[in-house]
Symmetry: C2
Subunit: 133 residues, 2 copies
């Protein structure tokens, strides 16, 4: 079975490393840009300014060997299975990021709010979802 991901674009953000990046977009997510690879330009057709989309990011800085973590990195809380937490450290570090498209310039989509490191690979876009914690 073919389970190799295709990278369809990258995040461009002021956040350059994980320690300065907030855990959730609602906790300090900023305006950022996603730059789509030109090979996937046609797949963007129908995405418009103002659209509420969910970005699927491949959190490449995560540790894929973790099965349990302290929730939100708080050592005073007992460890829990990663599937019951929002830790990026998990077997497949896929992040779900609900954002609004604020501007489209060709293959560059300005979006907000996003809490992801510059250079994070984009692997999918879901249009018109509502996703809430």
């Amino acid at each position: 079975m073919d389970t190799e991901l295709k990278i369809i674009g990258y995040v461009r953000s002021e956040y350059k490393n994980r320690s300065e990046t907030p855990k959730q977009g609602t906790e300090g997510g900023i305006e950022a840009v996603i730059e789509i690879d030109k090979e996937y330009a046609d797949a963007l057709d129908g995405i418009t300014e103002g659209a509420k989309i969910v970005l699927l990011l491949w959190l490449h800085a995560a540790d894929r060997s973790y099965l349990k973590v302290h929730p939100r990195g708080d050592g005073s809380k007992p460890k829990r299975g990663v599937f019951s937490t929002r830790s990026p450290d998990r077997p497949n570090p896929i992040g779900l990021h609900p954002v609004t498209v604020t501007d489209i310039d060709g293959l560059k989509l300005k979006i907000r709010p996003l809490e992801a490191i510059d250079g994070t690979p984009l692997i999918d876009i879901k249009n018109d979802y509502q996703l809430k914690k």
Copy 2:
């Protein structure tokens, strides 16, 4: 960069092929089981009966070469980019499936409603999300 997905489990469902499977869980999704690989047992800790979770499935029967499709397979509608549709045919065929856990028996989680083919690989579980169209 390591972009090879790990398969953490599989869907067990009465739906055996794509043609008989509804497009959305709310359109005929049924009770199904996800069977977690024992290697990932610890990652389940904290998931309880009644939990509302989002399954990330790898839709292995999809065609990864499609960039535009007729929405919902309706040829009378103009083609749109796959990122603005919910088509499983897309570069990375990842499905987001909000379900409720109805029973837990070791590594087998009974969940509903699910519209996915028997044998579909599970790649992640997100706990306590709300996801709506």
